[in-house]
């Protein structure tokens, strides 16, 4: 197991290195830079002053020099300085991370709470009215983008009750009740879409397992239907479900752009878009690296869960 984890972490480091290179180069291939944006806010461009600012920010250096400087900084925990805010990048990024992680986690929990039970029920009650209703419910979830649903929720609330959730982030320490109110609706909007996917996967996985010989054997032994479904069928069908949960969580960390924007939550994804528009390279690079780390770790956790959930899965030492 230890060798496996070491091996995976080694691959993770290589992946992160590749990612760092790709994001670094891609950002610089995009037309314009922060200095162009700053001058855009002033309505003119002065070439002499532009060069001075580029020197001040260090973006007049060759790309490879900038890259090496960034990597050197990463190894010492120095993420550089935000061009836009003239402040250490870590200070800008740090408050964003808990917001996005919490929203993604809450959405994932909601998706599991809705998606898994409905998937199992749908499989067990295959081709009944309940199955059709649940399938329509899940198809609707897959068809509706979370941001659209978010905007509809906001508009419906303001039209019907003249109320929307608070638009300034309140931490749980400040006021837990307001905090939950702020997070519940976006988490529901995102969680519903994810739950639809989970429901589809759970349903097909359970349906497949329900046809296995050991299910018939369990029933023949006189075990109760509930026990057959949850202990034998669901436990054996859970591997693909766990994989999807892991992928969904990782996706949500970087994929909440519009939901965070619509509900005005100061998370990683919303900020990332702003940073890209401003060509704030240090912020973009570090946020993308953060998302990459989450994706890699999620996959690793999912792989390790396999071994725990299914005793047949063993990682060679």
């Amino acid at each position: 197991m230890r060798t496996y984890i070491t091996h995976r972490l080694g691959i993770a480091v290589l992946t992160l290195f590749g990612m760092s290179l790709v994001i670094f180069v891609l950002m610089r291939l995009a037309p314009g830079d922060i200095v162009d944006i700053l001058f855009a806010a002033a309505g003119y461009v002065h070439e002499g002053d532009k060069k001075l600012i580029m020197r001040e920010l260090g973006i007049d250096q060759p790309i490879w020099v900038q890259y090496v400087e960034w990597l050197k900084g990463l190894t010492t925990g120095d993420l550089g300085k935000s061009y836009r805010y003239d402040q250490p990048a870590w200070e800008v990024i740090r408050p964003l991370i808990p917001v996005t992680v919490e929203l993604a986690a809450l959405a994932t929990v909601i998706s599991v709470l809705i998606g898994v039970p409905t998937g199992v029920i749908s499989a067990v009650r295959q081709d009944t009215l309940l199955d059709y209703v649940l399938r329509v419910f899940s198809l609707a979830g897959l068809s509706m983008p979370a941001f659209w649903l978010g905007m509809v929720i906001i508009l419906a609330l303001v039209s019907w009750v003249g109320w929307i959730p608070p638009l300034i982030y309140v931490s749980p320490a400040e006021n837990l009740k307001i905090h939950l109110v702020q997070f519940l609706l976006p988490a529901l909007a995102v969680g519903y879409r994810s739950s639809a996917l989970l429901m589809r996967i759970t349903r097909s996985a359970v349906l497949e397992v329900m046809r296995e010989d050991y299910i018939r054997t369990a029933r023949a032994k006189g075990q109760g239907e509930r026990l057959v479904i949850w202990r034998h069928a669901f436990k054996n069908a859970v591997l693909p479900v766990v994989t999807v949960i892991g992928i969904e969580f990782a996706f949500l960390i970087g994929g909440l752009v519009v939901t965070e924007t619509v509900f005005n939550l100061p998370g990683v994804a919303r900020f990332l878009v702003q940073a890209i528009l401003w060509r704030d390279y240090p912020i973009v690079q570090n946020l993308v690296m953060f998302i990459a780390v989450v994706v890699i770790l999620s996959n690793l956790v999912v792989d390790l869960l396999y071994g725990w959930l299914d005793p047949r899965v063993r990682y060679a030492d």
Binding site: L38, A41, Q87, M151
Partner: protein
């Protein structure tokens, strides 16, 4: 649908009438102190609080409460002019030596937010910084308004409470420039770079916290020089990048007031229909839509082709179609009743693009033919614009109008980061553009957008005779004579196709009825001090 529109329009009209009563300071009602005003902010600060380093409402609007100017446009009067300038840090002023020296007598006992005393040294420091005087002790990283002070030869601070601006020639407009929201006084003891991260001013509110991407929070300055001001205990600018969420936020009461220049006519109608008691002010924004024709590149070095383009575009249809009536026609200065210097309708009617559309289009075809462009040899042009919906809508209308006179135009959308570098390089043949003017003043507008060699004169229009006209009007002290000169210049610029104006935007500034003492101006840049605002809650 038409019935709904009629009903919505009626509601808006009734609402606008109601505004006259609700929006003006309540007569006989004593202002109440306290409360925090929640203010709409569409994006985070571009350069922190460094107003002198930007030219965007996104910075000036949320930064104005931190600062004071020497003088300011009266917050209670919507039309800005020389007559509405009121004292701020300068208690009074005097023109001397035939308007070659402006002497300002400063308010005593004023303190910066960090407790340091305000003196004439701060004034000299600020305006030497902006005009890039040889002996200026610091330099702005970006300096968009250096040209405003091109006529200032020196600034003198003979004692702590007096400042003298020495001018090359008389220029009454200097006072207008000093009254703009873009002209705050900076403290000499703080580096201009620091304003990108914090704010030390003399203004009515002190910055409490700027949470990046979330909000900017101010608290009342207890040592403010104006007795009894500000009324509010604080301000909170809530940054909401999504337009739909912003509208929902004002409707739900999460915000008390909107963002200047943000609310279109359609949005105002929607808000008014949802919340009939919402107060909506129809004001001019002092922002115009204009067509850029590169006068250095053929065929636009030919005035006939430029005039043909101007004739081809029916301005009245433009404001109806593109702005659904949320704009007005006008030449290069904001028209009445929003502006002081704009051309009258009878004069506009004589200009290209304002007459009968069929006649103007026929004249356009004739001019194009004279320039060698016919049905057999049509003029083909590429129009460049920013990849933003309002610019694209504008361009689409222009393309359709040009098609009707035989011009085949295509549209290329330019990413925002690339737009100003492209415009500054003059790397376009035709462009569609929006220009916000900091003050309703001929000097600020002409020298910036039409003068030979100005970096923001994107079309590179340059005429020595017109330059002389600019200088003559600039030093004319008789207001009536100056107005006549300014009208002549505007006619000339439109006839020359220097930068054909399409229309002037209106803003439908909205706030809840409990917000009192707030009078939106016919210019989005200059009413952000908010020291007289109070809440009747």
């Amino acid at each position: 649908m038409p019935q709904f529109r009629i009903a919505a329009s009626l509601i808006l009209v009734v609402g606008l009438v109601a505004v006259i009563g609700a929006g003006t300071p309540a007569v006989g009602q004593a202002p109440k102190s306290g409360g925090v005003l929640n203010v709409m902010q569409r994006e985070d600060l571009a350069q922190g609080f460094s107003i002198h380093e930007t030219a965007t409402i996104s910075t000036v609007w949320p930064s104005m409460p931190c600062f004071n100017n020497l003088v300011l446009f009266d917050p209670a009067k919507p039309v800005e002019s020389m007559d509405t300038i009121v004292p701020e840090l300068a208690e009074r002023w005097s023109w001397q030596d035939n308007h070659r020296n402006l002497v300002l007598f400063l308010r005593k006992g004023v303190k910066w937010h960090d407790g340091q005393p305000f003196t004439s040294k701060d004034v000299k420091y600020t305006f030497d910084l902006v005009r890039e005087a040889k002996d200026a002790p610091a330099k702005l990283r970006i300096n968009p308004r250096k040209d405003w002070y091109a006529n200032v030869t020196g600034i003198e601070a003979p004692d702590p409470n007096t400042v003298i601006f020495h001018l090359k020639r008389p220029q009454p407009s200097l006072l207008m420039m000093l009254a703009s929201g873009y002209s705050p006084v900076y403290p000499a003891h703080i580096s201009p770079a620091e304003f990108r991260t914090r704010c030390v001013g003399t203004g009515p509110f002190k910055v409490k916290e700027w949470r990046k991407g979330e909000y900017i929070e101010y608290v009342k300055n207890p040592d403010y020089w104006a007795p009894g001001r500000p009324y509010l205990a604080g301000l909170r600018y809530v940054i909401i990048p999504e337009r739909g969420t912003r509208t929902a936020a004002i409707q739900a009461g999460r915000l008390d007031i909107t963002f200047p220049g943000e609310t279109s006519k359609a949005a105002a109608e929607q808000i008014k229909a949802a919340i009939p008691k919402m107060v909506i002010h129809e004001v001019g924004a002092n922002v115009n839509d204009n067509l850029l024709l590169n006068t250095r590149k053929p065929p636009f070095d030919n005035v006939k082709v430029r005039r043909a383009f101007s004739l081809a575009i029916d301005r009245r249809s433009y404001v109806k179609a593109v702005h659904q009536g949320g704009a007005v026609v006008g030449a290069s200065l904001q028209p009445k009743p929003y502006g002081f210097w704009g051309l009258l309708d009878k004069d506009l009617d004589q200009l290209p693009g304002y007459g009968k559309p069929a006649d103007d289009k026929a004249k356009a075809r004739q001019l194009l033919a004279e320039a060698g462009f016919t049905a057999a040899n049509p003029l083909r042009v590429e129009i460049k614009t920013r990849a933003i919906a309002i610019y694209v809508d504008f361009s689409s209308f222009v393309i359709n109008e040009l098609k009707q006179v035989g011009v085949e135009a295509t549209l290329t959308q330019i990413e925002t980061a690339q737009w100003h570098p492209l415009a500054t390089r003059r790397d376009f043949l035709v462009g569609t553009n929006l220009t916000g003017i900091g003050i309703d003043d001929p000097d600020a507008n002409f020298y910036e957008n039409f003068a030979c060699g100005s970096p923001r004169n994107y079309t590179d229009y340059c005429d020595e005779q017109v330059m002389k006209m600019f200088d003559q009007q600039s030093q004319e002290l008789d207001r009536k004579k100056r107005l006549a000169m300014v009208w002549d210049i505007q006619k000339r610029l439109e006839m020359d196709g220097a930068r054909p104006m399409m229309g002037w935007r209106r803003d439908y500034f909205a706030h809840w009825p409990h917000v009192k003492g707030l009078t939106p101006h016919h210019n989005i840049y200059n009413f952000g001090r908010l020291q007289d605002v109070w809440m009747d809650k």
